[in-house]
Symmetry: C4
Subunit: 337 residues, 4 copies
């Protein structure tokens, strides 16, 4: 049967592509894919400069075609090997692959190639828009960074709060636009003559960008702006507060997860070399700092040492209760004290 080597290849590719494991070749493949994304983005940026595009048109065309071929191959391979994942719902040859196709990372991979084929089959719509869509290939890089994953997790978890904060910000922008429209609408009609026109100034002001292309000129307008500016500082601080709070809580939760893992690993009170390596990999995946992991380790070590000497309520013999978090061991005290 020729299935076994096939399976081996599938297994190796899965580890190489999805877990970045498997020796030098796996590293080289991943590095190459990362590099290709970066060069693609640079090509899109460079291409948009008309003179550059005219000068090197054949090169840009060739590079785009090669990239799409490689990304397509990558996508197909990922789809092929995804059944090797540990999660049970990816195991099914068809249903599992269908489910994999709907994961965010797979969608990003698809988005990186689909525009090219669309333009190929339906003819060229707006070349500029189409080319720019290739910038979304940048999202493919998120796969490779644990700290990026941490930030995106925090952003996703705090999305509700962030939207609310931006809603408050937009309300302030709208109210300040209305205010300046009432105050200076008749003085600078082209800039503040209606709320939609005044919105540009108020957004630029509340966000402290301050281009200076539109500026109030009357005394009342300046006093009103001053109040808006100072209020804006407090409101614009909300996202920072939300993200800081979300970051701290997420790191606390990850610390807890690491602690649970640590307690489970040192069940018998000792850590061998294999356990340490496992925990180190765990730490990197979870994304907590080495210093934090060390602190948790020290705390667990101290808690494990805790034990209580007490007496049985029936026979009054001394007993020892050891309690690492989540475990109770009762045993006779070694010596009568």
């Amino acid at each position: 049967m020729s299935r076994a080597p096939f399976n081996n290849a599938q297994r190796w590719l899965y580890l190489a592509l999805e877990q970045q494991k498997g020796g030098v070749w796996a590293i080289l493949i991943n590095r190459f894919l990362m590099l290709l994304v970066v060069v693609n983005v640079l090509a899109v940026v460079a291409e948009s400069e008309h003179s550059l595009y005219q000068a090197y048109k054949p090169f840009f065309t060739w590079f785009e075609a090669s990239s799409v071929i490689i990304f397509t191959l990558e996508y197909v391979l990922r789809l092929w090997v995804c059944t090797e994942a540990e999660q049970l719902h990816f195991k099914h040859p068809i249903g599992g692959r269908g489910r994999y196709m709907l994961t965010p990372m797979a969608l990003v991979d698809l988005l990186a190639i689909v525009p090219f084929y669309l333009s190929f089959f339906w003819g060229v719509a707006d070349l500029r828009v189409l080319r720019s869509l290739r910038l979304l290939r940048l999202l493919k890089l998120t796969r490779y960074s644990h700290s990026l994953e941490l930030l995106l997790t925090v952003l996703r978890q705090e999305a509700d709060n962030l939207v609310s904060a931006l809603f408050i910000l937009c309300m302030l922008v709208l109210l300040s636009a209305t205010g300046i429209y009432l105050v200076e609408g008749h003085i600078q009609p082209d800039k503040f003559g209606s709320i939609p026109r005044a919105l540009w100034w108020s957004a630029v002001t509340v966000a402290t960008v301050g281009y200076g292309d539109v500026v109030p000129i009357t005394l009342v307008g300046k006093v009103f702006s001053g109040i808006i500016i100072v209020t804006g500082i407090a409101v614009a601080a909300l996202p920072a507060a939300i993200l800081a709070s979300g970051m701290i809580n997420e790191l606390k939760r990850r610390g807890e997860r690491f602690r649970t893992e640590l307690v489970r690993t040192m069940e018998n009170g000792k850590l061998d070399f294999g356990g340490l390596r496992y925990l180190e990999k765990m730490r990197v995946t979870i994304g907590i700092s080495r210093a934090e992991a060390h602190l948790i380790f020290e705390e667990v070590k101290q808690e494990t040492r805790l034990q209580t000497y007490t007496n049985c309520p029936h026979c009054a013999q001394p007993i020892v209760i050891k309690h690492p978090p989540g475990h109770i061991h009762v045993r006779p005290a070694k010596r009568q004290r």
Copy 2:
């Protein structure tokens, strides 16, 4: 008696309007009210553009009239059903309704319709101001978002500290205005010739808006501005610090509230389906994230497990060891298990 169906309608409307519960119709009513507010705001913004207003005057008038009628109806209905609230002090048919009228949300609802009637009875004062007041209808939306409620709670709790931070900021603005007035007052008299005039520059600078319409030109003025700009970064960071601290503490307190609720719900050590649904609703209302709730759940589960049923190693009688944090309690088990 025709009271019973009347009561039922009152009950249904209360749940639909105030708790967003009661099937498809309740959801539709609330969605419609939200949409109406948004369209109203858009109408106010569009109306302020003179040409648009002239072109579609009849439509704007008709839309405003309809909106006010609907909002008035909403207000009256809310007033009618408010006695159905769980809080005892809203129960009284007259006193309870009076108290309800003074709640912030009811005042916002009133504010959304009163300007129209005022202009109707006393004639048109300043149409522009009056129309702009309709933007306050936006506040009606705060009713529908839990995370918005969280942010407003934090803002309210930290109001004192924020005001103090803005006071420090205003002091810095005032002192920097005085400084630049002393330094460049005679160079650019129209811009820095007096403290009130210099205030515009200093507010714009300290808040890092930086329009660039007023800029120091002498060496001393620039050195002074540089110092103010750098100091301003530290002072302008105060609101972010206050809000971050307030956010973290508020979420901690809400976590504690959720934990208490959780412990109460799983009194007997188990969580049935009803309990889970109740807790999920609680979680959304309190406004803590799913991940946080999960962590609290795990902690409580662990603590509950810490009541260990074991046997004395000497006499083999069953004993119970309870240890909530900071507490070891050994006693005979109530029943032989």
Copy 3:
């Protein structure tokens, strides 16, 4: 002896001026002093506008004279009554008053009146500078706000870290000024021709003020600026991070202080009305929110309920150990279990 009423007056004035206690008159006096400071500041700001000063010169002169008289009286009275303070080192009639004069608040009070007398005795130096110094009277207001005191405490405690953050910021400003000087020094010699000239641009840029009066125009200059701008965001975030961390830790410490006070007050496990009033005053002085105080109260209540049933290691009789934090009570268990 006429000492007793004198002592009473001293006591009453001490409470009124330093503790804002003593009925309606005490409140009125403090409100009046606050108002006077605010009006003084407004007068300084208004005076700096030359036309206003010319028009109302007699009024401004009269107001300044009256204010100085009242502030002088206030200073003398505070000096007189300071020996009533609870702190022992203010008790001595002469040494205590000397020590009081060196406290920050007393120095601020002195600073509010000294410039006037200096100008009176040594003649008028620079009127504008002298008048502006009166703005420092604003600092007198810090006496009246607990949350302002909290912010100033945090700023003072984090002063070292803030200075270091501003040092890092200044290094970035200096390095970016040097960079732009090397890159665009020969293109815009009047703006970037030397490091001191380029410093203006780099300070304005790193602090994200961005006036736009000086802007790089070459490609290399823009790329360099882009890097500096993005780096600047991370560095400019340091003060916010420091203050947030300082704020959170300070509030935690104050919470601990409140907890200690609470445990001490409810020694016997109960809180009477007097205890509650004392704790509420304590809470306001310490400056923690009502919600936080409530949480601490709940925690202490729970901890107080903790008690351990164990057995004496000698006679094996059951005993109960109660332990509110910092206390151990050992007593026989009520019933044999």
Copy 4:
């Protein structure tokens, strides 16, 4: 043998240079070195002003030469005395010195003098670049500040997260540049005609610098910018959130370290004068505030007191109850007291 005084000098110099200890002379030497760095930086800044340089050329040349001689001497001395360090791997006369040369501080010291010698041996390349390199001497100051060390530690620990945050920021900048290029590329071709050109505007806008030299002018462009500006506030808040979280966690870890040290020092339950001095030095080195140290001290004191000596209420024999948090331990007292 003449080794002993030699060794003494080495020891004294080590303490003076690396630990800032050793009486008035040690302080003077360190102050002088700090001052020299600051004056050097000022000289570099002043020199870059062409007219100043021409006027005082001999002085600048002489000052630079003297400074390099002193810094070279400092470097050689530090290299000589580094074997006195407590760390074992610096003890070896040759290997230890080699290792010392690779520490960050030693590299900074080397960087401060090497450019001068390079220009001396290989002739003058670009004087302006060479002179500017001397600004890096500023880094020598980091040796003297504990809070600067704290900030740099936090920045280093959070480097991964910060880079990810800046990556997200750069993605937003790139996407907004692409957007404005698509929207206004044909309106303002010199400013938005290609993505590289549009990048300048988008970097300046997302970072809220807002020079105002490039501004969208069409309605669509303004609406698009508005969205980018508001989104930018949330993304630009990420570094503040990361640093705040890192700061809080680092201070928590340092607090734990101080607590461990404190518990170790007061092993016998008492703190003598030597112990206090040691702890105070420890506190400054670790870089936690006095208030924080006090809180930790109080907590440890309370925990230590929780070892209570009392008597059994039945048999009146002395027993000891120990309860570090989470732990009750009843045993007969070792000695009758």
